[in-house]
């Protein structure tokens, strides 16, 4: 554990190496990236197992001293960090492997791998940071990596716009995080997590300030995790290559917001209001995004909204004091959502379209992708025995136990939506008749199916580390030795599990009726309630609303200031320079170099002086 700092350095090495030699290596770059991330993953596993038997390890060194304040950098391996290290490095390794097949033939293949390395470095650095400042540095690096990867196809206008949008929207959240961080530093005098928690626990920070800072930091998490109302960048970010969506927009970066709230959990639990805000935003996002996902036609966008919705679940769990439930769902979601994205990438790779209306009947053609996609779908829908079932159940119990009845029912409805739209997606892509124009459909190479199989296995079994039936190992371990994080397992009424199961099965059944068996017409909603359908299809017009309000207002102000700058400020500046230039020109004309002119000038000056002297001295009277 003492050398855990080396874990983020492997991907950094990969990044630097590919930056220098990538052009020569071409597609062999993939092996470099894979090797380094595999090393990271292996070492992360070692650290995780080490952490099972040893206490939290923390090492720090001062890098800047300002007066009495010492700023430190270092790393901390607590339970959450060790778990995150494994999740991130594993998904990153699998995505590196998968991309070898998916990105095959791309001109900038090596650049892609370099970016992946940079991103993985930032993310791994983020999850072992022991203080807020270091977290913030990596937080922004993660944003930069995401920007580069979303805009990887920069020759596409949409990709460019999406990259900018992602960067700017998360930046709006980051402002909140920065302010919260500064306020905390002002109050506590330290960026260290431990010292912040101690100060909060000791009550040396006023209750109002705790609430304020917690909410401001949560704003940062809202931006990064695509929570309502800053969620709009995430679906647009699907313009990036699909492996990127799997890595960044399913398993790691968007989970960073959840991770941040989890890492600062004692701060949030100290304020009931802050927890409530987190829970409400989470639940609203969960149902809101799920309802949009019901009608989208782009396979990746459906998954993107599903990601937003699932992140909402995690926030709901954390906001309901369900620390374990949130982190548990973060883990299972990372596996099954990465699986779904990779499988979607495999489908896109095969049929070269993202529109699910143009797909169909792929079950027989994609013999490996199909069942794996089904596993992912079952897991996310919360079907019993799959990982999503256990973690979602934990969340529902946490919400119920915390007394958030309304939010609980919202989450149940969202679970129903989730099951419905995921199976709608599944049936539309894989069942029905094959399209005639899709003749050359073929299964992806094994370098792409292997990561999916690994994730498929994890999507099934990952839930069993924390079940009400066989023991809550993960939960007990996560909160071990830290009462501030709550209990390892929250007892809840048994009917919640039954309700969750029934609801998800209902959703699946309805999807099957509409898109599998087709006994209910597909356009049932769009023909009966075109307004509702329109609102959902246009994502509640949020983008348009932002365009009209925020973007236009910003544009108005920027133009206003632009013209003020151009005419008022520049006018003044030009006037001043004009006067000076004019004076200079006159001065330079006087400086003719003619000694006689100078002499005359001196004489006239002297004469004038004499006259003035005569008048003021009174000699003329």
């Amino acid at each position: 554990m003492e050398n855990a700092w080396i874990i983020p350095l492997f991907p950094l090495l990969s990044f630097l190496f590919l930056l220098l030699f990538g052009k020569r290596l071409k597609e062999t770059s993939a092996y470099i990236g894979m090797l380094f991330t595999l090393l990271s993953f292996i070492y992360s596993l070692v650290v995780l197992f080490d952490r099972f038997s040893n206490p939290t390890y923390k090492a720090e060194a001062t890098w800047l001293t300002i007066g009495d304040v010492q700023l430190t950098a270092g790393f901390e391996i607590n339970q959450l960090n060790a778990l995150m290290l494994v999740i991130v490095s594993l998904v990153s390794f699998l995505v590196h492997t998968y991309s070898k097949g998916y990105m095959h033939g791309d001109d900038r293949f090596h650049v892609f791998y370099a970016y992946l390395g940079l991103f993985t470095f930032a993310m791994l650095g983020l999850v072992i940071s022991p203080n807020l400042l270091q977290t913030y540095i990596f937080w922004e690096l993660v944003g930069a990596g995401s920007f580069l990867l979303i805009g990887f196809y920069f020759y596409k206008e949409e990709a460019k716009a999406a990259a900018k949008k992602a960067f700017i929207m998360t930046r709006i959240g980051d402002v909140g995080l920065l302010i919260g961080m500064i306020l905390l530093f002002w109050q506590v005098g330290s960026f260290e997590y431990d010292e912040i928690f101690q100060a909060v626990e000791a009550g040396s920070v006023s209750a109002g300030m705790v609430t304020l800072t917690a909410i401001l930091i949560f704003v940062g998490a809202v931006g990064k995790s695509g929570q309502f109302p800053l969620h709009t960048w995430l679906p647009d970010a699907m313009e990036g290559p699909t492996p990127v969506s799997a890595l960044i927009h399913a398993a790691t970066m968007v989970a960073a917001g959840v991770y941040l709230v989890a890492a600062l959990f004692p701060l949030f639990t100290a304020s009931e209001t802050a927890l409530m805000v987190v829970a409400i935003i989470g639940a609203v996002t969960a149902i809101f995004a799920a309802s949009i996902g019901l009608v989208q036609k782009d396979i990746k966008r459906v998954l993107a909204y599903s990601t937003v919705s699932q992140l909402g679940y995690m926030m709901l769990a954390l906001g309901s004091a369900g620390y374990v439930a949130g982190v548990f769902h973060l883990m299972t979601h990372a596996f099954f959502k990465a699986l779904l994205f990779l499988a979607a990438g495999s489908v896109i790779h095969a049929v070269h379209t993202q529109n699910i209306e143009e797909m169909g009947g792929l079950w027989k053609k994609l013999r490996i992708t199909g069942p794996l996609f089904l596993i992912g779908t079952l897991a996310i829908s919360g079907v019993p025995l799959f990982s999503g079932f256990f973690s979602k159940d934990e969340i529902l119990i946490a919400a119920w136990a915390h007394g958030n009845t309304v939010l609980f029912w919202l989450a149940v409805i969202a679970a129903f939506f989730t099951a419905f739209y995921m199976f709608r997606l599944f049936f539309m892509v894989f069942s029905g008749n094959a399209r005639s124009e899709m003749k050359n459909v073929h299964e992806s190479p094994s370098v792409m199916t292997f990561p999916m199989i690994v994730l498929g296995i994890l999507a099934v079994v990952a839930g069993y580390v924390n079940t009400p039936w066989f023991g809550t190992f993960l939960g007990d371990w996560l909160v071990d030795g830290n009462e501030a994080l709550g209990h390892g397992h929250i007892e809840g009424p048994a009917w919640i599990m039954i309700v969750a199961t029934v609801v998800s099965l209902l959703g699946i059944f309805l999807a099957w009726m509409m898109y599998g068996k087709r006994s209910i017409s597909r356009d049932w909603l769009s023909s009966r309630m075109p307004i509702v359908y329109g609102i959902l299809y246009n994502k509640y017009y949020i983008d348009e609303f932002y365009q009209l309000s925020v973007v236009n207002a910003t544009k108005f102000f920027s133009y206003l200031f632009h013209y003020i700058e151009k005419f008022l400020v520049e006018g003044i500046v030009k006037g001043i320079t004009g006067v000076v230039q004019g004076l200079g020109r006159i001065g330079s004309k006087i400086q003719s170099g003619q000694i006689q002119g100078y002499g005359a000038m001196a004489f006239v000056g002297l004469a004038l002086l004499l006259v003035i002297f005569a008048i003021t001295g009174g000699y003329l009277k």
Binding site: G593, Q594, A600, F603
Partner: protein
Amino acid sequence: MSSVPISAYLTLALILFCIGLYGALTKRNMVIVLISIELMLNSVNINLVAFSKFGMVPSITGQVFSLFTIAIAAAEAAVGLAILIALYRNRKTVNIDEMNTMKH
């Protein structure tokens, strides 16, 4: 002798000085300019001598002083002419309008 008042000397000196100044400022030929400067110096000499005789405190110092001035003026004229000749050799002209290299 003593019937000539000081104002006459001073007026003569003033007129000479003005002629000298006028010549120094307007003439284009450097030789003339040099001569004009000599004229101005001599008008000052007249002043000095006049004040040494008719001043508030008459003293021989004024006349001694004017002798000094004459000596220095001679030296100055020699140096000035030497510079002038050097310039002339360099530029092939004594026109003062063309001596404006200080401007650049």
